[in-house]
């Protein structure tokens, strides 16, 4: 299992993760090494075995839709890097 530089850049793009040139090279090597160790999984016979998403799973968890107090806008926005009134301010999404 060898992860190419191109693949590393593609995954980084999917994760919206910027990487320096050095990180791209290092991750290409390290991820390849790690995945090589994990290839043992391909030997396991899982024919007819269902996947587990959660070990101790609860089904159809419901709760009453009761109104309760929520945080004030000022509290919600208190950690915002940039705000304008009661809104989060971001750079333009469209060109």
């Amino acid at each position: 299992m060898k992860l190419s530089r191109q693949e590393v850049l593609h995954i980084a793009r999917l994760a919206r993760l910027g990487l320096s040139e050095e990180e791209v090279n290092r991750l290409s090597r390290q991820l390849s090494d790690i995945l090589a160790h994990f290839e043992v999984l391909q030997q396991v016979d899982t024919e007819g075995v269902p996947p587990t998403t959660q070990a101790i799973s609860l089904k159809n968890v419901m709760k009453y839709d009761e109104p309760a107090p929520s945080l004030e806008p000022g509290q919600v926005l208190a950690n915002a890097p940039r705000r304008q009134g009661d809104l989060f301010r971001v750079k333009g999404v469209l060109d």
């Binding site: 992860l3 919206r16 910027g18 990180e23 995945l35 609860l58 950690n79 989060f88 971001v90 750079k91």
Partner: protein
């Protein structure tokens, strides 16, 4: 006098109730101890002196009115991934360096309701990803038994703070061993409860199907007291269990005669230090002397796949959970770019450390088109097989016994160049998260002056039996009473 931070909860509680000690005195003792040892230990990201003294005064009022509960007035260190209203919560990440939560995690509310006193927020591996605290963006915590060695991780700060007497107990979180491995390395008692026992509301998410909060304490009795206070159903966490929790403190009878305990041989892995294996076997022999029936020949053949399963599933879930750090709503934000997408990528490049990036990449890869079935779904299927083996074992045994870690604490820096070597240090603990069952690590001796831990694994929702075993062992041995010289 700063030795009071070394009391157990039960000892402190007795002194508080009989008014031989006030919570303010006990809290000042811990804060003084923190001032003394922090330059060496570095267990805390934030020390909350003012809040602690305010809470201690309130606790003293409650105690004076005869309204004390078991944790009233007792100083606690909380791992820095649990939200504390008004107190910075960093996850030991540059991404959240200045984040001040507007609400409390449910466990923090429960501690507050019980009258506990929070002395600070404990250091950890960034976003709980690591086994040594070396991935903290701020500093590495030292092991109080040997300051050149790691305290384990990711809850290394909380475990070290308990070991060094900077607080009476700690709260950690455990996704693949992050409570138990540092408990083993620092010679304290650490419990990962059954998945869903303790609410995760307000715990900053790492891998949601594996994360669980639990106590780090000086003994099993204290562990039961903390569990009695923090567990239970929470409508804010849809994965929290509606099953009632028995009063665990009342379950510690000290009697383990006739309990059937199994020792899965796969946990004595290649690369395990022989002294660790020997100490763990001796501890198991002690349980046999105390009347438990031991089967030394149990086999859980899928154990060898657990590492791969874990390091596919946990990073996959992490890559989704950490998508929220976009530099818009809170946290670190880099804006000196032309477009929103560039700002987001740069924010994440500069805000996350190396291990977090590695796991985001690994998880994104395992979830990406073309690899999803071969890696992620395959890992989930093998997860089923691992879970089934535990189910079968628990038809025959009341609990399983293994080492907590294959080695004693390693040296700072020793494993940082090889991520896979670091991952191996959780090889005995992560199958338990995969299966969702509870497990406790207790001090089981020393090798070359460094702590060794015994892991006791229980049936789902049966924290009572594993804590009963831990308590019986501690009544018969003194390992948990040894304190580092620091």
């Amino acid at each position: 006098m700063t030795g009071n931070g070394r009391l157990t909860i039960r000892e402190a509680q007795r002194l508080l109730e009989t008014r031989q000690l006030s919570s303010v005195e006990l809290t000042k003792d811990c804060l003084e101890r923190i001032r003394q040892v922090e330059p060496e230990v570095h267990a805390f990201v934030t020390v909350s002196d003012e809040l602690a003294l305010k809470q201690a005064k309130e606790a003293d009022d409650l105690l004076a009115a005869g309204n004390g509960q078991p944790l009233t007035g007792i100083p606690v260190a909380v791992k820095d991934n649990m939200c504390t209203r008004g107190v910075r919560t960093t996850c030991s990440s540059k991404m959240l360096e200045n984040f001040i939560p507007p609400y409390n995690a449910t466990v923090v509310e429960k501690l507050k309701a019980a009258g506990a006193v929070m002395v600070g927020k404990a250091n950890m591996d960034e976003f709980a990803m690591g086994s040594s605290t070396e991935n903290s963006a701020f500093f590495t915590t030292a092991n109080p038994w040997d300051k050149n060695r790691v305290p384990g991780g990711s809850s290394g700060g909380a475990a070290a703070a308990v070991a060094a007497g900077e607080c009476v107990f700690g709260l950690g979180s455990d996704t693949g061993g992050s409570i138990r491995q540092p408990a083993s390395f620092c010679s304290v008692t650490g419990l990962k409860p059954t998945y869903g026992r303790v609410s995760r509301y307000g715990l900053i998410a790492f891998a949601s199907s594996l994360d669980q909060i639990g106590p780090l304490t000086r003994d099993a009795t204290d562990c039961a007291l903390v569990m009695d206070a923090i567990s239970g159903y929470d409508s804010n966490d849809s994965t929290s269990s509606p099953l009632p929790l028995p009063n665990l403190s009342a379950c510690l009878s000290g009697d383990i005669k006739g309990l059937r305990l199994g020792v899965p041989k796969e946990y004595f892995v290649q690369g395990m230090q022989p002294e660790v294996a020997a100490a763990v076997k001796e501890a198991i022999g002690k349980l046999e002397e105390l009347g438990a029936e031991i089967d030394w020949e149990v086999s859980l053949p899928s154990t060898s796949y657990a590492l791969a399963v874990y390091y596919i599933i946990a990073p996959s879930e992490a890559s989704a959970n950490l998508a929220r750090y976009d530099g818009v709503k809170y946290g670190f934000s880099y804006t000196d770019t032309d477009s929103m997408w560039q700002a987001m990528e740069k924010t994440r490049e500069l805000g996350f450390g190396a291990e977090v990036k590695r796991r985001i990449m690994l998880g994104t890869y395992a979830l990406s088109a073309g690899y999803y079935d071969a890696w992620y779904v395959k890992a989930q299927k093998v997860r089923t097989l691992i879970g089934r083996e535990f189910d079968q074992a628990f038809n025959k045994y009341d609990a399983l016994l293994t080492p907590t870690s294959p080695t004693v604490p390693f040296k700072i820096g020793e494993r940082m160049d090889d991520p896979f070597q670091m991952y191996l240090s959780d090889v005995c603990t992560l199958p338990i998260n995969i299966a969702g069952v509870p497990a406790v690590s207790i001090p089981a001796g020393f090798s070359g002056g460094l702590p060794v831990g015994l892991q006791i694994i229980g049936k789902p929702y049966d924290e009572a039996t594993i804590l009963k075993i831990a308590d019986a062992y501690q009544q018969a041995t003194d390992w948990h009473k040894k304190r580092p010289k620091i």
